[in-house]
């Protein structure tokens, strides 16, 4: 019995606290940071319409839809629209600095707070993109996401070296498990829907005019193919939480994730959501593989620590 508990504790220790190379977290910061910055940049076009206290997402609307005072937002505390605009540009600057990895320890936390604040205020106009933005920024703020591919590294490269840390591992592990929770409920939620069983769910998505950016209605002539895509999509999503861990099934599961999410981005006009979900799946890419991939992408750039 004692041996059993020792084994469990050792496994727990290794799973959570073994030191980890920060490359995966750093790559996620660069990619997700770009999406984060763009997401908030787009708010600039309709800032007043959405965030004024009495227009589309009014104070009273926000109070009812969130239903809790814990869903905080700076928009609820600042009345002057001029000041809100100034704060908006300050938030954009922070997010840009976080994206390029400048004082990442500080800018990641500030960016996280702003991301939560905007999302909590914009409930009613938010969707999965905002949820994953918060999730990835949260874990990048926990771990050393500015250790590589950052201004921090460029500015301090002579004195600071890339150090594997337990904190990097904790951040990645949390992101992995959070992503599994998301797929678990996204998958099991679909099991309640009849169209996922009769094989027509994918048709419901691709024949929706409001989403459609790529015409796939020619598939109406191949209902079996629609059925197959539906069943495979559901099987993949419902089994993700189990099959993403074994090393033999992981490449298939992650490959499917990239295919599905980028497909949604291209065919259904949700490019940002498709990309952020694909980026989130990078938490399951090993640091050694990530080094090889980065080595290929940045082979001509000597400034970055790449695998040659």
């Amino acid at each position: 019995m004692k041996t059993f508990w020792m084994t469990v504790m050792t496994a727990w220790d290794r799973f959570w606290f073994q030191k980890s190379d920060p490359i995966v977290l750093s790559v996620i910061r660069v990619l997700a940071g770009a999406i984060l910055f763009y997401t908030h940049l787009v708010w600039t076009f309709e800032l007043e319409s959405f965030f004024s206290s009495d227009l589309i997402l009014s104070d009273e609307h926000n109070e009812i839809i969130t239903g809790t005072k814990f869903a905080w937002s700076h928009f609820n505390w600042v009345g002057s629209f001029g000041l809100l605009t100034a704060i908006h540009y300050f938030a954009l600057i922070c997010m840009f600095l976080y994206w390029i990895g400048f004082y990442t320890r500080i800018t990641s936390v500030i960016s996280l707070l702003f991301t939560i604040s905007y999302a909590n205020r914009a409930v009613g106009a938010t969707f999965g993109l905002d949820q994953i933005n918060v999730m990835l920024t949260f874990y990048c703020a926990i771990g050393p996401s500015g250790a590589m591919f950052s201004m921090d590294r460029l500015l301090r490269k002579r004195t600071v070296e890339v150090v594997p840390t337990s904190l990097a591992n904790v951040a990645i592990r949390l992101a992995q498990l959070h992503l599994c929770v998301i797929y678990l409920f996204a998958g099991t939620g679909k099991l309640l829907g009849s169209s996922w069983w009769n094989g027509e769910a994918i048709w419901g998505a691709m024949a929706n005019s409001e989403y459609q950016t790529l015409d796939l209605t020619w598939l109406a002539a191949s209902p079996y193919l629609i059925n197959l895509i539906t069943h495979v999509s559901l099987a993949w999503e419902a089994s993700y939480v189990f099959l993403v861990w074994p090393k033999w099934t992981r490449p298939v599961v992650i490959g499917m994730a990239f295919g599905v999410h980028l497909g949604i981005g291209i065919a259904m006009g949700m490019v940002e959501f498709g990309l952020i979900m694909a980026i989130a799946n990078l938490v399951f890419v090993s640091s050694s593989l990530m080094r090889r991939l980065i080595g290929i992408v940045l082979s001509g750039v000597n400034e970055w620590p790449t695998a040659k």
């Binding site: 606290f17 869903a71 949820q131 070296e161 890339v162 150090v163 309640l192």
Partner: protein, 313 residues
Amino acid sequence: MSKSNSRNKKNRVGRSQLETGDHTRGDGDSGTGPAGHQKNDNSHSAVDQSMRTDWTLRTRIIVSVLVVLHLAAVFSAPFAMPQPSSELSVGIDSVTGPYTSALYMRHGYRFFAPDPGPSHLLRYEVIDESGDVVAGRFPDKSNHKPRLMYHRFFMISEHFWGLGTLGEPVENQSQVDDLNRAVTYLRDNGFIDQADWLLGSIPPTSNEELEERQIVKVIKALENDGKFAAAKSARQNFERDRDGLATAKRHRKVWLAGIAKYLKQKHNGAVVRIWIQEHLIPDYDHILDGGGLDDPETYGPRRLVYSDEEVVK
């Protein structure tokens, strides 16, 4: 201090190592799970040693407790919402809710579930002082750009539909009044069954009213069949939903007032009317017969949900 420095040196991934790709000692492979070890490598023990945490047992215990609590909170939100959900899951969510709400992590994550359904549009007309009318809709591909902004407007019409529709058939009100008078007449003259039958056929003045009538009927039918557990469950759900409906009604009113004000400002208008409309998904045959996704028959009826008083008069 010197001890800490030597430990840091030992665990460093040197720049030269990183640049040459020699990361045998520096690759924790956290993304792969515990299987990231190179078991056939002679340097196996060296890998384990260099990647072993330098956190104290106390730190590890504290972090372990924090990650377990955090992940329990992350799990509890989609476990409890949306309905149906157990009393246990709702109870746990009520404890973790403040934490997950503060982090914007209180979500159901049911993307395209249970079924990808039809879209919902908010159509509007804005009339200015001179009587000119501007018509538009949420979302609108030609006006809401970039695409992400289009999705913001799309989410507004979708979330609004989720509150239930008012759907007040103002033009049928006199007919509804006649039928209500007929029901009263039948009841007063002892034709109870006939009165109930007629009551069920009266068009609702709101979806909530229709829903309430139908649910009460279903609950009675369940009780008559001796299915008391199902009836109890239905009654509990109904009573909970009824409380939610009151909030939804207030929410619709507040939200529409904000949207109407936005439309008036944007189009320099004096009067606004807003309708909600469902855009259905056509079936295979419709497309194979040469139909399109936006054909008129794919749109449901428009239901007026907002109108300034001036228009009503």
